[in-house]
Symmetry: C2
Subunit: 444 residues, 2 copies
């Protein structure tokens, strides 16, 4: 039996689905189990109450000048659709060195791998830096209560750098350090015209069609080269360095892999950038949904009263989501065709994240991975948002090292989520080496 595998399987058996109110008891049972496990490993652990699922906080004694905050989450995505699973999602199945279960990678596997490394260090007299562990139970529903807890407990949670394993390897067997994450601005745009759907024969031509007006507004979000055309949108965009672009071009993972994952007929996007660059380092404007008029079978010849688009803008450092939302709203209002009324509602935003590739924390992580695997980690970015990383920087004032231990095809959020058993030891090893490295090299 691999060291720690039983602990990991026990952790997976809790159906800790934060989105399901009926599982509040399972959430608490999982947190209680985890706090006990950390206490058993030698940390001072507690359940911090937030009004929702408790946050597990555990810490080593304060003995060293530096401290690392290890963040993870014990909640998982819903298992639906149940019929998609080869094995029951909360009865982890081990075969051919792979564990299949909900949360196998996201985030129980990745977190447990780091914690197993920490437990080994505890058994050997304690890690060479202080560690504080924060494992929350609401990441999959947007961490609604964690920022307040971080603020309330800022002194207790003070650290020099954070370590999070909640991203993916860019290619199998290539531990990856994610230096950048995109932020987001989410808006809903509604165009209103006639007071009710109109007969398009009786009135068509005399009044503006809200769906046409909306389409023209959306068309105006990009120029013909696929670049976002909102004035001011690019003012604060930091381009990736030439070195970064070169290193991405050298990855085994390439545009063809990205295309294959989408099932699109072809890659497309902003001129002058590879597809990987477009996802990792370029901001976007996306239509997430459109609603107007008749949507059922057949035809209904109307001028719809309203038309709505759900828009989201993925942002890169140093764009600010609130600023972007204001720029977009202004642009839409200035571009709005005559004869309709426009309402732009800013739903929510999240900050982009970027860690300097030349920072000591990154160097320490590169060395740790080298020691464990004999090869350098990939330095990548991801196109999605991990909002908690920006929150940690905002509230606690520290950077986060994002180490990806999950396989690129781990099926997080889908049925038959997997995690290789060997990645427990891999993550544990990287954690041990990294904590040692961070003790030697100041992280900032």
């Amino acid at each position: 039996m691999v060291a720690g595998l039983e602990d990991y399987l026990a952790y997976l058996r809790f159906p800790s689905v934060s989105a399901d109110p009926a599982r509040a008891g399972d959430m608490r049972d999982c947190a209680t189990w985890l706090a006990a496990w950390l206490a058993e490993a030698g940390l001072a652990s507690e359940l911090a109450e937030t009004g929702g699922p408790p946050v597990v906080i555990a810490s080593t004694p304060r003995r060293h000048p530096r401290r690392v905050l290890l963040y993870g989450h014990y909640d998982v995505q819903p298992e639906a659709p149940a019929e998609g699973w080869t094995h029951p999602p909360f009865a982890p199945h081990v075969a051919d060195g792979v564990v299949t279960a909900r949360g196998a990678t996201d985030n129980k596997g990745q977190t447990m791998a780091l914690l197993l490394g920490l437990r080994e260090l505890m058994a050997g007299g304690g890690p060479p830096v202080d560690v504080v562990v924060v494992i929350e139970g609401e990441e999959e529903i947007g961490s609604p209560r964690l920022p307040a807890l971080l603020r309330e407990r800022a002194a207790q949670l003070a650290a020099d750098v954070a370590l999070v394993a909640d991203t993916s390897m860019v290619d199998p067997g290539v531990p990856s350090i994610t230096l950048g994450l995109r932020g987001i601005s989410v808006l809903e745009v509604t165009v209103s015209g006639p007071s009710a759907d109109l007969h398009s024969g009786q009135y068509g031509g005399a009044v503006a069609n809200p769906a046409t007006a909306l389409a023209r507004l959306i068309a105006g979000l990009h120029d013909d080269a696929g670049r976002v055309a909102v004035p001011g949108f690019h003012d604060r965009v930091l381009p990736p360095s030439d070195a970064e672009r070169e290193s991405w071009a050298g990855l085994a993972y390439g545009d063809a892999d990205l295309l294959a994952a989408t099932g699109s007929p072809a890659l497309a996007g902003e001129a002058g950038w590879s597809a990987i660059e477009r996802v990792w380092a370029r901001p976007t404007a996306e239509v997430n949904g459109l609603t107007a008029g008749h949507q059922g079978a057949g035809s209904k010849t109307i001028v719809p009263a309203t038309a709505t688009a759900k828009l989201s803008f993925r942002l890169v450092a140093d764009q600010d989501p609130d600023d972007v939302a204001a720029l977009v709203a202004r642009h839409l209002h200035e571009s709005c065709p005559a004869g309709v009324e426009l309402n732009v509602r800013y739903d929510h935003g999240g900050l982009p994240y970027l860690l300097d590739a030349a920072s000591p924390a990154v160097a320490a992580t590169q060395r740790a991975v080298m020691r464990v695997t004999g090869r350098p980690p990939a330095l990548v970015r991801e196109g999605l948002s991990v909002p908690i990383v920006a929150r940690i920087r905002e509230v606690l004032g520290i950077d986060t090292i994002l180490i990806g231990l999950g396989m690129p095809d781990c099926r997080a959020h889908s049925p038959d989520e997997t995690f290789p058993v060997a990645h427990l030891a891999l993550g544990a090893g990287i954690c041990r080496e990294l904590l040692a490295g961070l003790a030697a090299a100041p992280p900032a």
Copy 2:
């Protein structure tokens, strides 16, 4: 009691809703009653079977060189919403000279008015032209079986001109001759991209967003002056004559009335034309519906797999709906952004209709209205389609005089549909005078 009012009220009591299969018996009862009424008036009448509700056909003996086809429909729109009615929809209510009932105007009132004129002529020795009456029972569901019947019975139904009262007065008290009706081409456009909805963070920027591509295609349907921008679209558009435009400008009915009816914040449309002209004499491109991605509450940050638009193009003489559909499909394919697949499906089309204002049939109608009301009728067009008019021209080779006896606010298709009792005598008088005039002046 006004002459014919009891007959009209009896006709209104049949709940002849063609859209409701449960009322097939009521439909047949209504047709049987109408055929008997026409026989009582002295016409040779029959129920022509089509596989659906029977068509009532009745004719005067063949005695004159010319013949008029009088078309109407005995089916009505569904009465829903039932709660919108002040009185039960099939228990006609008479008060202050107004009848309230489903079908009061559309089309039982308008048709009965003409038939009462015909009955008077029959009682006086017969009309001065031969008349064949065709009253169908599926107009409100698109007359699916009538064209075949027209073809089968072309010899029996042969006539020199058709007369239809199924349009509206442009202003109260102004009988209106509708010289033009718009045709239509209806299409459904689907843009496909990724094989499933994608996470807009993981993939956004690298592939074309089908909703964005669709919006750009829709934006390309018009130029900045609001003119349809499909190449070739205008090649066969006949502009209205200066005289026609002048006569429309002189109507009491104006753009302000049109705006008020829409509830839109302002009029808008193709530069260089009044709103009335845009509806009556200009072709349009309208979006009838949009569907893509997430449409519920809140946000879901995806690149949708597909986006669909329902489009309809209103056409004017001499545009051809099949040609227009082909031009639109070609334009969309030529304009389609890279990285998506486009499917354009032609749903159905209908021909536009235009009657020469200088034709003898129009002159005869103008004189008939003058004799009855002392004022000239308005010569107007309508923006909608009355497909049967194009079918009558196509199958029987004759023009149709469209005489509007309905009030502009008659609430056809809505609860509390009305018809003024006085319009029975008005329509009867116009019918008598018009049949006399058509006997004197050859219609073509």
